[in-house]
């Protein structure tokens, strides 16, 4: 793996997960939805789109997406897609340290097993 490939895989994983974490932060700011009527869901989404973290999240996801497109223009998909399975572990780390979620040992074990499983599926 070249240094450029490793760098772009890191950008795809980190930017993608920071994007999802920002989206999660935005939705927690809006608060838990309790009533699932169509009007209430629309109002809830409208409130979500007024939170700056949602737009930060979408921008980071766009960075991850375009980095992935660039990466796939020279690197093999059989390397890139299994490598991005590390996203689940990076996401759990971010959730613990940036969002303050309590990721206990049981959840960590599950996350690691999922990472290995996704890598095997994508090989």
């Amino acid at each position: 793996m070249t240094a450029r490939t490793a760098l772009f895989i890191s950008i795809v994983v980190v930017a993608g997960q920071l994007g999802d974490l920002s989206l999660s932060r935005a939705m927690k700011t809006v608060g838990e939805i309790k009533r699932f009527t169509p009007l209430n869901v629309l109002r809830f989404l409208g409130r979500g789109f007024r939170v700056k973290w949602l737009w930060i999240g979408i921008s980071l996801m766009a960075v991850a997406f375009f980095s992935l497109l660039a990466l796939l223009s020279w690197a093999n998909v059989s390397l890139v897609v299994p490598a991005t399975a590390a996203s689940y572990a990076v996401g759990a780390l971010g959730a613990q340290f940036l969002l303050g979620e309590q990721v206990n040992r049981e959840r960590w074990i599950g996350v690691i097993i999922v990472c290995i499983g996704v890598a095997l599926v994508c090989i």
């Binding site: 939705m27 927690k28 700011t29 996401g91 959730a95 206990n104 049981e106 959840r107 999922v114 499983g117």
Partner: protein
């Protein structure tokens, strides 16, 4: 039903919707783009004509609709559930796609992929045993 049990049930329902919309949206997006064909030139005229053709495809619009429903379900579930719960649990989508490929499209699924599918099931089961929300809203 206690608040905790009700929250867990809502989480499972939203995760099931997320995975169903996301997986079927991805499959239809792939099918729609294959119907449109490969983009051979990035010259402005050719690229505009290509994307105009792509957006004339009903399959592509159906895929976009499903992926929007995926995003809505994702946003709703994240309003209460931990990201560290939702993210690994949604990996069950890989299992769904592998099973759909095997049973409906008659695709060959190699042994390593079945091993991966089994591991994902175990991992999702372990994560699913934890409480969906460990933190109060800020």
């Amino acid at each position: 039903m206690s608040e905790s049990k009700s929250q867990r049930s809502r989480t499972f329902v939203l995760l099931a919707l997320m995975v169903t919309f996301g997986s079927s949206g991805d499959v239809l997006l792939s099918q729609g783009m294959k119907q449109v064909g490969e983009l051979h030139s990035w010259a402005p005229g050719a690229a505009i004509a290509y994307f105009a053709r792509a957006f004339g495809s009903g399959t592509l619009w159906l895929a976009i609709g499903l992926l929007m429903l995926f995003l809505v379900s994702y946003m709703l579930v994240l309003s209460w559930a931990d990201f560290s719960y939702v993210s690994p649990a949604s990996a069950i989508g890989y299992v769904l796609v592998a099973l759909m490929g095997y049973f409906f499209l008659g695709e060959h699924v190699p042994t390593t992929r079945w091993m991966g599918v089994s591991l994902i099931c175990v991992g999702v089961f372990v994560v699913g045993g934890t409480h969906p929300s460990t933190k109060q809203s800020p």
